[in-house]
Subunit: 364 residues, 2 copies
């Protein structure tokens, strides 16, 4: 089986996790949590990082800390993993969907601007599959209207715009460290921000709303969104090989590019000139493919031992967010015809060649 | 320093966690999750166990699966850890507080009955410090009124009523496996239930609301409340020594009883005859002690190297649930004069004697 993703744990992961077990600090206190938060903030060029137990809770934590609530609207791209929208709903607020750009698959800034109403409190651009959203344009529009920008970089650790890393833009950035991500902690997440007040509000809410100075005195309805010392130990070890991992993922993408660029039906991942795309999942679209044909393609590839994933269903097609009459043509086309190919550090050149042959064969 | 709690990891914890790392299954798939769920359900005498990332999310998961929402009321004891009430608030519902019984510190069934209104959808009895709530009386009242009973056994793994274990009563039971608990997974939780439909609804909502048959097709707004394979590996190892741990905790309680029973100012933990209390935290109250004096006692003991904890602030005293005019006299007295003493498997007889001497000395 050639898996779509697989964590690579060949560094200090084991050493650090065993240090947790030997010291008995396996819960949400311990040196690895603070070390990981510091190292991850530094890696992003951000002042603060708040580690959480996953990427979904990271998104919710920012929104909760900003006091987003019933009656508020938050603009979200219609093509994303459902957690982006769910985090808005957890607050009792409404996600407002906008279509994406065909080259990057990310929120179209002009459509964001068109979606703004007096109720718009925040916007969540998502960096899909490793290509950062157009943060420059989005931030400019948001600033004009006094809207908070929260980047969802669950899929784009290490990506850059004009030489600055994701995690350093906007008011805050949410990350996921699930087992299929560029950096993993097993399950995990983090929020980065340069805003000290927001950071401390998030720390309070992450720890059940407990006053940081007075034990069992709870000033707010908070959450248990804490990361464990064990998860942070894995994350710290992963960070030690961060640049190396990004470079290896670039190589994998280059090999895919070389083997697939001859196929006229395929649109391969693109990069805007000002951007450093990271290669989380190498995702292509097949011209003229319907959703049913794409799903069949996934089944066919699986029967040859190759695990792939469909591009996300546009959110307005899913039961909790159903808008049968709405039209988001770009997301609908990408969502139907897109497929993510295996992308992880354990792939050999042979594996990638096998994937490309199988894909090209299936499309003949 | 004599800590109030400390996990004991001397069994297969390390072996199993290293198996996760070696196999690279560190995220929320893997054999330990299913093995742990099976073993924990069996240990409770329940049909199903759904593992979660902590005890707070376990509570919320049940309430969400039951569709508790705005306009609903859920009866909660006023003396508990704040998470019990927060889980109700996460659903947009209102926790309704009732006072506790002086001997068990748990919800008074008659006051529960008096608090029922047409809006009451559920009741959450809590098994404080290891003594099970009066589930027989509470279940009888709840059944009469068609109210769902969800037990919060975060603090009472292994406790029994009439020979049946907590986890097997009511509609569902929520547990915590935080680092200070009788069983730990670092951070973790679980819900047990005998209701197959509720169990599968909880599995769906735990996994982001994703259809279990169709990948990336989300039928509901769900959550990322999954437990990792690593956490479950620790839990499975802990379960292998469960009965042993309970027995050792009984010994510790016996030693405290023997050394403290001569002090007329102290009320020691009691057990109802039909009950097997487990000794999560050995918790005493000091006659006539004010909250300020108790807080000073904690500081004094800390200066002698002894970590203790105050009994919970009654929820109606805390800012998010403030009811300045309400009166819950039993909870107020216990909350002011109660103190939890070190209770964990690493304590020596000497440690316990040291704690008792320091406590008695401070009260002289
Ligand atoms: C834009 C955006 N915003 C927010 C979030 C929320 O973050 P979070 O999931 O709450 O941390 C996310 C995260 N979305 C992920 C989620 O993390 C989600 O769980 C994941 O869905 P999935 O494809 O259904 O996940 P999976 O089937 O469990 O894992 C995918 C493959 O990764 C590999 N894998 C995952 N965990 C492990 C592991 O522990 N070991 C090994 N060997 N392989 C693993 C296996 O090959 C799996 O088949 O993929 C989604 C795209 C996001 O993308
Ligand atoms: C009735 C009820 N309902 C729901 C919940 C929610 O469950 P959950 O916390 O979401 O899993 C709970 C859980 N309440 C716990 C929580 O789990 C909470 O985190 C805890 O509060 P705390 O006393 O502030 O916790 P702490 O200071 O972090 O840990 C207490 C001591 O335990 C020991 N300890 C904890 N984790 C570790 C560890 O990993 N290693 C070592 N060596 N010691 C540890 C240390 O001595 C700590 O000083 O105590 C509360 C009573 C509950 O009691």
């Amino acid at each position: 089986m050639i898996h779509i993703a697989s964590p690579e744990l060949s560094g200090n992961e084991k050493l650090y996790v065993n240090e947790c077990l030997d010291s008995t600090w396996i819960s949400s206190s311990g040196r690895f949590i603070t070390d990981f938060e510091r190292a991850f903030a530094d890696a992003c060029g951000a002042k603060h990082a708040i580690a959480t137990n996953n990427g979904t809770t990271a998104l919710h934590l920012v929104l909760a800390a900003l006091g987003i609530g019933p009656g508020d609207e938050v603009v979200v791209p219609v093509l994303t993993y459902i957690a982006t929208a769910n985090a808005v709903r957890y607050c009792g607020a409404e996600p407002v969907f906008v279509d994406v750009e065909p080259d990057t698959m990310n929120m179209d800034p002009r459509l964001f601007e068109a979606a703004i109403t007096p109720r718009t409190r925040a916007v969540i651009p998502v960096d899909l599959y490793g290509h950062p959203a157009d943060m420059v344009a989005i931030a400019a529009i948001a600033e004009l209207h006094g809207i908070a920008v929260i980047e969802d970089s669950a899929e784009a650790h290490g990506a850059e715009i004009n030489g600055g890393r994701v995690g350093s833009f906007g008011l805050a950035t949410a990350f996921s460290f699930f087992g299929n991500k560029i950096l993993t902690t097993g399950e995990g997440g983090a929020v980065t921000t340069n805003d000290a007040a927001l950071a401390s509000r998030m720390r309070l809410l992450r720890g059940q709303g407990m006053d940081l100075e007075r034990r069992y005195w709870f000033t707010d309805v908070g959450y248990n969104y804490r990361m464990t010392n064990i998860a942070a130990a894995i994350g710290l070890a992963q960070l030690e090989r961060f640049d190396e991992s990004l470079a290896r993922r670039d190589q994998i993408a280059k090999q895919y590019d070389a083997l697939l660029s001859g196929n006229a039906r395929l649109a391969l991942p693109e990069s805007r000139p000002e951007v450093r795309r990271v290669n989380w999942l190498y995702t292509v679209t097949v011209e003229g493919l319907s959703a049913d044909e794409r799903d069949q393609l996934i089944v066919d590839l699986a029967s040859e031992g190759i695990e792939t994933r469909p591009v996300f269903h546009p959110l307005h097609h899913l039961p909790p967010y159903l808008q049968p009459d709405a039209s988001f043509p770009v997301a609908e086309r990408l969502g139907a015809s897109g497929i993510s190919l295996p992308t992880h550090l354990g792939l050999s050149e042979n594996d990638i060649a096998t994937v490309c042959e199988a894909l090209s064969g299936a499309l003949d």
